[in-house]
């Protein structure tokens, strides 16, 4: 226990030094993600503090905000207005202040900025128990450069704070955009995009409803490396260096579990309420490679199978199975039929395959449209 007490004292002293120690000029990024104003500004603090607020220390986050907004904020220790946008807790809303992806437990007039800091201001809305409900997104694993025309993967996390500490969680269903194309993150928070086909630069951003947009890192798009010359002696192969800690890879042998949602077995529908959107989920320990459906229709003595390519029913023998068609690789799959299903007795089946090649059992159900 005395040991722990010593650590506590040391920690408090360190925090005191960080907060109060005089600092030199620092270049920091101020990101404002309001409802009506958004932008990122890089500023250099000079130690001038905040005019009219002597409590705001030189080189504080308050001074950085002063520089980033050209003084267009209310200059209070507890910020209520930035660029005319006010959050006064009238509807449990306030300007949250974060530093480097974590909720700041120090006020902006006391926090002394460090070179390279990212200061984030955004409107937070408290829910029950004074817990915030709006969390910022961040992109991780963003490459400095990607190869033109090639896929690349980034991860989106949301940073969640309980007021004392901030933790990360994968952002599921967030949209990552490079300005031209988009991809949606899966259960692991990862999204794969295809780089533009030619060199240049792109700017990535992750967005999601009720979340704060991520910073917008710029990524270089470089031309693919030229193919090796077809002639001439082959260079000596590089020596193979065995990995010092090569742990045996865990082999995933667990198949995914695919299910259909929103429909019950033997359910009956009127023609007007016939299903149009088919949906369901796939549970797996790893990534999902594909989700496939097949849809069989029986009407009187005739049978037909839905063709995913032409998006039409084609007559088949009632003894034959319908063909599978792919509906993506999302753990939360959905498929919008071109129109509501016509009268008939239907059998809908789903199966999924994970990245390790394990295939799920077929989930099947029948329903009727009168």
């Amino acid at each position: 226990m005395p040991h722990a007490f010593g650590r506590l004292v040391a920690g408090l002293l360190l925090a005191f030094v960080l907060v109060t120690a005089p600092a030199g000029a620092a270049t920091v990024t101020v990101r404002i993600e309001g409802n009506t104003v958004a932008g990122t500004t890089t500023v250099n603090t000079t130690g001038a503090g905040v005019p009219g607020n002597a409590a705001c220390k030189p080189h504080s986050a308050g001074e950085a905000l002063e520089l980033a907004t050209a003084g267009n904020w209310d200059r209070q220790m507890y910020v209520e207005t930035i660029h005319g946008e006010s959050h006064t807790y009238a509807e449990s809303d306030y300007w949250a202040f974060w530093v480097n992806g974590s909720y700041s437990t120090v006020g902006l007039c006391d926090y002394i900025v460090q070179p390279g800091d990212e200061l984030l201001f955004y409107p937070q809305v408290d829910g029950p128990g004074f817990q915030g409900t709006v969390w910022p997104l961040y992109l991780t694993g963003v490459p400095a450069a990607v190869t033109a025309g090639q896929p690349y993967t980034v991860t989106v996390i949301e940073r969640v704070s309980d007021g004392a500490s901030t933790t990360s969680a994968p952002a599921v269903g967030a949209t990552v955009s490079d300005g031209s194309t988009t991809a949606v993150t899966g259960p692991d928070g990862r999204a794969t995009l295809i780089a533009p086909s030619g060199p240049g630069t792109i700017r990535l951003v992750a967005t999601q409803a009720s979340r704060v947009n991520s910073p917008r890192p710029q990524v270089a798009v470089v031309a693919p490396a030229p193919a090796p010359a077809p002639e001439g002696p082959a260079p000596d192969p590089a020596p193979v260096v065995p990995s010092p800690v090569e742990s045996p890879a865990a082999v995933d042998t667990t198949p995914p579990v695919a299910t259909i949602s929103g429909l019950r077995n033997r359910q009956r529908f009127s023609r007007r309420r016939a299903p149009r959107e088919l949906r369901g989920t796939v549970a797996d320990e790893g990534a999902i490679a594909s989700v496939e459906l097949r849809l069989h229709r029986r009407h009187g003595r005739r049978c037909a199978a839905y063709d995913g390519a032409t998006e039409r029913f084609r007559r088949i023998s009632c003894r034959r199975e319908a063909r599978w068609f792919r509906v993506g690789s999302s753990a939360s799959w959905s498929y919008l039929l071109p129109r509501r299903l016509p009268s008939g007795l239907y059998q809908l089946q789903v199966r999924a395959t994970d990245a390790a090649g394990n295939r799920s059992a077929i989930h099947s159900l029948r329903f009727r449209v009168r």
């Binding site: 955009s177 917008r216 993506g328 498929y335």
Partner: protein, 304 residues
């Protein structure tokens, strides 16, 4: 005649009488899409990629362009007590003007609001010495759209250089790739290039336009739609791009039916959900605001 049959007959007669009137008041796909976008607007007048998500310049500008194509004035689009879309466009138009794509799109969005653009000098600063914008086909096409929207004539020096660069990027197969010659031809890039060449002054019968259209038409899938790249599934945005290119070249997209299947506009309509939004594809609902805005351009058969 039993009472039940009498009621059924009466209902049938009433249906016949009221049917045409009811059909006359039914909202068109475009009207439903406009209504969806109006509901998806944020209080600041802008849009995120999804309803109620944070405003971004990209989504805001695409919605302004899409609504204008559908005949809706962005100055009239606002949530109760909120800013108008036109105000949001004006506010976001100057954000992140460090790349030509954003700048060109901002100019188009400002034009969609009826506002004058002061961003043309900035766009011209971003034009590369080779005449392109960012060295990318689609961005260069957007640069041409923006310059034309701002009143520049095809004979203007910046326009000529951009159009010349664009024409030089055509692949041997007739298609275009995002960066130009050598990359895999794609639908979006080819459709953008067709419109860029036409807006840049090339004739509908010119060889680059004819070759590009031939490549494009051959990419239609059995479902009637167009994919981003050959072999992929059809999606709403690539289909909208293709419709725009066909319309720009004077072709009627409704007559484009692969093996008697759907035309691209009919395919687009099948992606409309109950709430009026358009899905990206059968199996993806990504960025519904952006997709719906772009689908409006396709439904209206309105080129850039």
């Amino acid at each position: 005649m039993s009472a039940r049959r009498l009621v059924a007959l009466a209902l049938a007669v009433a249906g016949l009488l009221l049917g045409p009137a009811a059909a006359g008041t039914a909202a068109t796909p475009a009207q439903r899409a406009v209504a969806y976008l109006e509901r998806a607007q944020n209080g600041d007048g802008g849009y995120g990629f999804e309803p109620r998500s944070q405003t971004t310049p990209i989504a805001t500008h695409w919605v302004a362009i899409g609504l204008r194509a559908a005949g809706r004035d962005p100055a009239d689009v606002r949530q109760l007590g909120g800013d108008t879309l036109a105000e949001a466009v004006a506010r976001t138009a100057t954000a992140e003007l460090d790349d030509a794509s954003t700048t060109a799109r901002a100019i188009l969005a400002l034009r969609a609001t009826g506002g004058a653009s002061t961003l043309v000098p900035r766009l011209l600063e971003l034009q590369l010495p080779d005449g392109s914008f960012d060295g990318r086909v689609t961005t260069t096409a957007f640069g041409i759209f923006a310059l034309r929207a701002a009143g520049r004539a095809p004979g203007d020096d910046a326009m000529r250089r951009a159009t010349g660069w664009l024409a030089g990027q055509q692949n041997d197969d007739g298609g275009f790739s995002a960066a130009g010659r050598g990359g895999a031809s794609g639908v979006d890039d080819t459709a953008a290039a067709v419109q860029g060449l036409l807006r840049g002054g090339r004739g509908r019968g010119s060889a680059p336009v004819r070759r590009a259209l031939r490549w494009l038409v051959a990419r239609q899938r059995a479902d009637g739609g167009f994919p981003l790249l050959p072999g992929q599934a059809s999606n709403a945005q690539s289909t909208a791009w293709a419709i725009q290119a066909l319309a720009a070249a004077g072709r009627d997209p409704r007559r484009l039916r692969r093996r008697g299947g759907r035309d691209p506009i009919a395919f687009l309509r099948t992606l409309q959900a109950r709430d009026g939004s358009f899905r990206y594809s059968r199996s993806s609902v990504q960025t519904p605001v952006w997709v719906t805005a772009q689908a409006l351009l396709g439904l209206a058969r309105r080129p850039f």
